[in-house]
Amino acid sequence: MAATRQHEAKPRQQVIAARRYRFHAVLALGAAAILFAGPSLGWKVSTIHLVGSAALYCVTVIGVNVVLGFAGQITLGPAATFAVGAYVGGVLSARYHWNPFLAIIPAVVLALVIGLIIGMPALRVGGFYLAMVTAIAALAVPSTVANLHSITGGSDGMSARQLSIGHHIISDATTFRIIVIATLLSAAVAANISRSAWGRWFRCLKVNEAGTSSLGVSVYQAKVISFAWSAAFGGLAGALFAPFELSIAPAQFGFDLSTAFFVALVVGGLGKAWAPVLGVALYYIAPEYLLPKSYIGLKEQLIFACLIIAVVVLIPDGLSATVQRLSTAVWRLIRGSPQGAREALVLSEPSVGESVIAAQPPEAPPIPAEEPSDGRSPEGRRDVAARTRRELPALLARAGSQDRTRPALAARDVVVRFGGVVALDGAALEVYAGQVTALIGPNGSGKTTLLNVCSGFQTPNAGSIELAGVDVTRTPSHRRAAAGLGRTFQQPIVFTDLSGAENVMAGEMNNRPSSVAAAFRLPSSRRHERAAAQRAEALLGALGVSHLVDRSASKSSVADSKILDLARALATDPCVLLLDEPAAGLGLDEVAVLEALVRATAQAGVAVLLVEHDVAFVGRIADRVVALERGRVIAEGTPAEVRSHPDVLRSYFGDVDLVRGSDEAEGRPAVAVEAEHD
């Protein structure tokens, strides 16, 4: 299939992404060109140094953006790797007479290594711990430098050598230009990472950590890789800093430098492409030019600190978002739409109406919202359903080739205890390829726990899980996903700054590139992107939502988000698919659409296991139903069988005597319910 695609047109998503990328690239090149020309235009030495060091700070902040902005891991110590890069490069060239250019390499490598030494243990815990360990590391590095007095000149600092080739010393201006190029390249690398598979997986870390492993990506590994990249950027920046500033001392790399980097990024806008530039420009360059000379000093710093607070409180997504809004508004104004311009300026903060929307449901709300879903007629929907049934099997190769006679997923005698509470007490079930199996039960019956045990998010105290007959009880969740166990979550995972297709591409399993390949857009990464884009478009088309392909995911309704979620899970080519309350929060029309999609998925060969509250929905969609109560299976069978099973009725109704008339006398179950309706 891949071979013939070479001759087909590029996937729509790729065309649009390329266009977006080109726009930013042109902008960046333009900015770089202006800076390049700076020294020739008569810039003073002080200006060159100001802009040059700001550019290097920008490189470090680009690194922080990768780990904090993309992947959501808090680091308060970016100055640590910056310092390591500066000192290693400086010491090697000044003391051991290395060529300053060559010294850059070990500087970056050592910064990377030290970054990993600091980061790897702390990343296991994450959160504030990570923040504080990195902060302490940021303090420890200058101290260590000061301690290694003989090599580094101690607290008094040392002089670094200028860049040179042989005996020819490279001028200040040229070094500046080299720095500009390095900054441009760093920005390009970060942009490459952002739009690659790794960028998508980092976003998943931020949005739903567990969800990342359901994409077959090890959470810890992804965190470490994001951290490693930030260390590498910091090291590079530091390595160029020493030969540029020419004298370095531990005091320059203190905690305040780290906090400056951190704040610059947050103010610029976490995760946004231009955030490092905007943040650094505001933090370092603006004060020099915007504030009258008499204010430089404490008052300026005070205003700054207040500005930081104001920006975070008032503009939560940072300056980048403001710039985006302003430019959109201006653009719309030019195109003659003042109304559109006004709309663009409105902050996306919760409107009054939204503030009375509660943040988290205590239970999944299954009642229809008032808005209709896709406005399709029943005929239209039938056509889409037919198309789905036709097109889906080709896209789910692994699922189709499964043995339908043996369970694709089996849970045996699973016991889970939380402290004194037994959540699962010998629960067992089997899910077969080509069928939809539903797991029902009252609150606290253990449905989600069982699902989590199957996925690998919860280790059972006893019992086993088998995937196609292979025991996976000890296998980590990301490996289960890679082996074909897909999953969706109650809250759909949405990458709001990406298009629908890009959201789906995160699931692509084939030929995944390394982060280095992604960073430099090596052929392996480009191949993966192309294949992923084609598959994503094909999947979205098969699911009847082609219009979502290039639409920003932030605009999706709840129903669309759920379909994107499903598509992403299908992109992993799963053999088994676990769906956690897929119908929650959907209107009647939307539920019907979802039903058709889930049935088509099963028909294509996937073994579907879904957890649901809505017994009617289950009745329409499931081939088999398993009822849980207090962690044990109390009934299994067809929907009709389970629905009229006395134990199931008791678990829902609680022993109520609903008997009327002759049914009871004849020994039939007290409540008989029709399975089909509508």
């Binding site: 959501g72 808090i74 243990p121 702390a122 296991r124 815990v125 994450g126 959160g127 504030f128 711990y129 923040a131 504080m132 360990v133 902060a135 302490i136 590391a137 303090l139 420890a140 101290s143 260590t144 000061a146 301690n147 905690f255 305040d256 906090t259 951190f262 704040v263 947050v266 404490l298 008052k299 710093q301 005070l302 700054f304 600190a305 207040c306 930081i308 607070i309 975070v312 409180v313 008032l314 939560p316 902050l347 903060e349 919760p350 503030s355 943040a359 988290q360």
Partner: protein, 301 residues
């Protein structure tokens, strides 16, 4: 041997301050899920205000202390009003979403305090009259271990303040209300604890505690506001070692950190101080992430 015990004395003394910063963090974090980075800076506010009131303005010691406490408490309340409460509107109501932005805004608040102080009060340095005369206790004879009254005062002050907070938390309705909020925010609201107002109370208390720490340390510290960041970090380490959510843990953590630092600086040099924090943190994360006496696990951001 004498050197060792001298190190113990200075370790406990500085550990007392770290412990109080940790208690301040606990008061706020436990009940509101917000980590107030300005907590360390409030110690410096205590130092500065005591200095201002007592030396510059000539107030009597008791008045200066009272004034410093009030100022520190009010500044922390201001931080809550300006840097934390408004975040709920723009970042959504779910409290866990406040954590990162609050981190940044309270960091900004620390910077504001540093700069504002220097602008308002300039940098005149007058001699600070010690609280106690310089006679020190000597344990083990004249060549034995010197324990200054000031040092003893600091350790005692830490124990008293921590004890007072503990009593507050256990016997008053607001104290219990804050503890309840820490364990179950919704449950507390359902029982009539006004969670929004309670956050202000938590910040006020934390400000007072840190302010008192500053008052205790005022005679022996330079008026270097950047020390505030140092206390902020060390207080966190103390809390991590001793365990989040535990006042006793804060005391233990502060003691452990202070002692480790003292050992490293006495037997090594001053630049080794930071390694104490680094090593202790790594040990704690690896062996017992909850902390020595920790009861709640800190929620990851």
């Amino acid at each position: 041997m004498v050197l060792f015990f001298q190190a113990v004395v200075s370790g406990l003394t500085i550990g007392a301050i770290y412990a109080l910063v940790a208690v301040g963090y606990n008061v706020v974090y436990a009940s509101t899920q917000v980590f107030n980075l300005a907590q360390g800076m409030l110690v410096m506010v205590g130092v500065m205000m005591t200095y201002e009131f007592r030396e510059v303005m000539g107030w009597p010691t008791v008045g200066a202390i009272a004034g410093a406490v009030v100022v520190a408490g009010l500044i922390n309340v201001a931080i809550e009003r300006v840097c934390v409460a408004p975040l709920e509107r723009t970042h959504g109501g779910v409290t866990t979403h406040l954590a990162l932005p609050a981190f940044v805004t309270t960091l900004g608040a620390s910077l504001v305090i540093v700069d504002a102080y220097e602008i308002i009060f300039g940098s005149q340095i007058l001699p600070f009259h010690q609280y106690f005369n310089a006679v020190a206790f000597n344990i083990g004879g004249h060549k034995g271990v010197h324990v200054g009254r000031q040092q003893l005062f600091m350790v005692v002050a830490a124990l008293v303040i921590a004890g007072a907070y503990h009593a507050f938390a256990k016997y008053t309705r607001w104290g219990l209300g804050l503890s309840a909020m820490a364990q179950n925010r919704e449950g507390a609201a359902l029982r009539g604890v006004p969670v929004a107002g309670a956050r202000i109370v938590a910040f006020l208390l934390a400000g007072v505690i840190s302010g008192l720490a500053g008052i205790a340390i005022a005679p022996v510290t330079f008026g270097d506001t950047t020390l505030g960041f140092n206390y902020a970090l060390k207080g966190f380490v103390a809390m991590a070692i001793g365990g989040f959510g535990s006042t006793t843990g804060a005391l233990v953590g502060g003691a452990v950190l202070g002692l480790s630092e003292a050992m490293l600086t006495t037997y090594g040099n001053d630049q080794y101080r930071i390694y104490a924090s680094l090593m202790l943190l790594i040990v704690v994360f690896t062996l017992r992430p909850r902390g020595i006496l920790g009861r709640q696990t800190i929620r990851t951001v």
